[in-house]
């Protein structure tokens, strides 16, 4: 087990308004979320001395303008003018979970005391994957000429392989979409709060990239979320009950850029990250009380459940049936609604929910008696990370 388990905790969490289109610059959303997280902790902004983020916009063909389409560390520094800042970083080989892990490392190293991590997401006007180019450069020269555009198709091809090799039926995925939307009705910050979804809605929705229909895809939104991390001893002096980080991992697998459609890329990415997390925390999938697994596309949950070890390969669509992922089920899953419910903010919201469930702060969606809280933040491929939070340090 990891010597540093439960030495760092998530304290406060914060949210901006989430909307389809921006009426204020993204920087203002990020600021709202950061202020919210600091206030939730009961801290003053001047206490914050560490900053970390992952500022990518996953859309294609749109200008990257700091403060409007992304919110970098520099942008946040300029806004906050933190008098006691001692550390900051942006990550690249992992999505936002990597920024959280770097903040953990900085806190363990003693180079900061209270770190803020945020994820701000823009929804550009016009077509999200804007692909007007007459030429295909780099790795896309082997994919774009065949109509492979956004990440959805890359995920979709792996999903057809999974479905047909395992003799499975995409209609079983309705259970995931409907259950997560049900959970969303307990999360007033989510985009789809107040908008239920039925199985009939799922079956009637238009196909986007087979096997994905509309409700297999998270909806692009503008918004931001943020967390405060600190050392366990400091966290115990703050207002919220701490969510202790018992272990974490990151994907250790990469296949040559442009190699699309490889199911092994997802499965080995996920299993390599989870192995680190189980070993460091000392827990196994059987010990988990509640799980958040990244769901930008629904099939990510399949790859997650299987590669993290919650069920065997080929079984995930059966695993999620019969109430197992309901709030009172055997493995309550994406209890905040997931990205399918909140809108596309990437994995930090999964991390927030993992922390809230561990510390008993999840309100009407709280899983009773939850202690061991698992998070797979981001798709297991390329940028995936995993975490275990606990309410009771050990």
């Amino acid at each position: 087990m990891w010597d540093n388990r439960c030495k760092i905790a998530v304290s406060g969490v914060g949210y901006s308004k989430v909307s389809r289109m921006a009426d204020i610059p993204l920087a203002a959303h990020a600021l709202e979320a950061v202020k919210g997280a600091v206030a939730d902790s009961g801290l003053q902004m001047a206490d914050i001395d560490g900053l970390a983020t992952y500022p990518e916009l996953p859309a294609t063909g749109h200008a990257e303008i700091d403060g409007i389409s992304v919110v970098s560390v520099n942008c946040m520094m300029a806004m906050l003018k933190l008098p006691n800042l001692t550390w900051h970083i942006q990550v690249g080989t992992t999505n936002i979970g990597g920024a959280v892990q770097q903040a953990v490392n900085a806190l363990l190293a003693g180079v900061c005391k209270y770190a803020v991590v945020w994820r701000a997401m823009h929804n550009p006007r016009g077509t999200y994957q804007n692909l007007p180019g007459a030429y295909a450069h780099g790795a896309t020269q082997f994919t774009a000429p065949y109509g492979f555009g956004g990440p959805g198709q890359g995920m979709a091809v792996a999903y057809t392989r999974w479905l047909e090799r395992n003799n499975q039926n995409r209609e079983k995925m309705a259970t995931l979409a409907v259950t997560q939307r049900k959970h969303t009705q307990h999360n007033p910050h989510a985009y789809f709060y107040g908008t239920p979804l039925t199985r009939e809605d799922y079956f009637a929705s238009r196909m986007v990239a087979y096997p994905f229909c509309l409700f297999d895809c998270d909806i692009p939104v503008q918004g931001a979320v943020a967390i405060v991390l600190t050392t366990a001893d400091r966290a115990r002096d703050l207002k919220p009950k701490p969510a202790y980080i018992a272990g974490y991992g990151q994907r250790l697998h990469f296949e040559v850029a442009g190699r699309i459609g490889s199911l092994s890329n997802y499965m080995e990415g996920g299993s390599s990250s989870a192995k680190l997390t189980w070993e460091r925390s000392g827990f196994s999938p059987r010990d988990v009380d509640v799980a958040q697994i990244y769901d930008g596309f629904s099939a990510s949950v399949i790859y997650g459940l299987e590669s993290y070890g919650f069920c065997k390969e080929g079984e995930a669509l059966d695993f999620i049936q019969d109430g197992r992922i309901e709030l009172d089920g055997e493995l309550p899953l994406n209890t905040f609604g997931g990205s399918l419910g909140t809108g596309r903010i990437h994995g930090l919201w999964h991390i927030i929910e993992g922390a809230l469930q561990a510390s008993g702060r999840a309100g009407s969606r709280q899983v009773k008696g939850a202690n061991v809280s698992f998070v797979g933040a981001s798709a297991p491929i390329v940028t995936g990370t995993t975490f275990i939070f606990v309410g009771e340090p050990y």
Partner: protein, 145 residues
């Protein structure tokens, strides 16, 4: 009617670079060539700086017959990419060649309805000329041998 109409599609033109030029030069001649490690014999695609199996740097392009199976596919319905909007629904496929296990090639399934795309189905390479410089390897269902 389940045939995709490719006649109004404007495919983006691949831009060869120092790693990929031999692939496109061969395709222009109607030959499918893949990068092969001269140390361990491993075929790989897309081309890379080193052999991803044994780390050797002695890599050459060698012809393959171009028969294989559909490893995976998707049927595109979304019309966000205006270059391809006229063809929806269409099958974008990923092919694993018999001679190059693990080397995955993208393509479209041509000459048959898109509903014929299934994982494991046998396909063979054909060539689609885009301009004088670039010819795309493409796939159709394998004919009886």
């Amino acid at each position: 009617m389940t045939m995709s109409d490719w006649s109004k599609v404007t495919r983006p033109i691949p831009v060869p670079n120092e790693w990929t030029r031999p692939f496109w030069d061969a395709a222009r001649r109607g030959v499918l060539e893949l990068q092969r490690c001269q140390a361990c014999g491993h075929f790989q695609h897309p081309p890379y700086a080193t052999c991803v199996q044994c780390m050797a740097i002695d890599l050459k392009f060698e012809p393959v017959r171009g028969g294989g199976a559909i490893y995976a596919y998707t049927i595109m319905y979304h019309t966000g990419d205006k270059r391809f909007a006229a063809a929806v629904p269409y099958a974008s496929i990923v092919v694993e060649l018999d001679e190059a296990p693990g080397a995955l090639l993208a393509g479209n399934l041509l000459e048959v309805p898109y509903t014929e795309a299934k994982v494991g189905r046998r396909v063979e390479v054909i060539f689609e000329k885009l301009n004088d410089d670039i010819t795309l390897p493409q796939f159709r269902l394998a004919r009886a041998t």
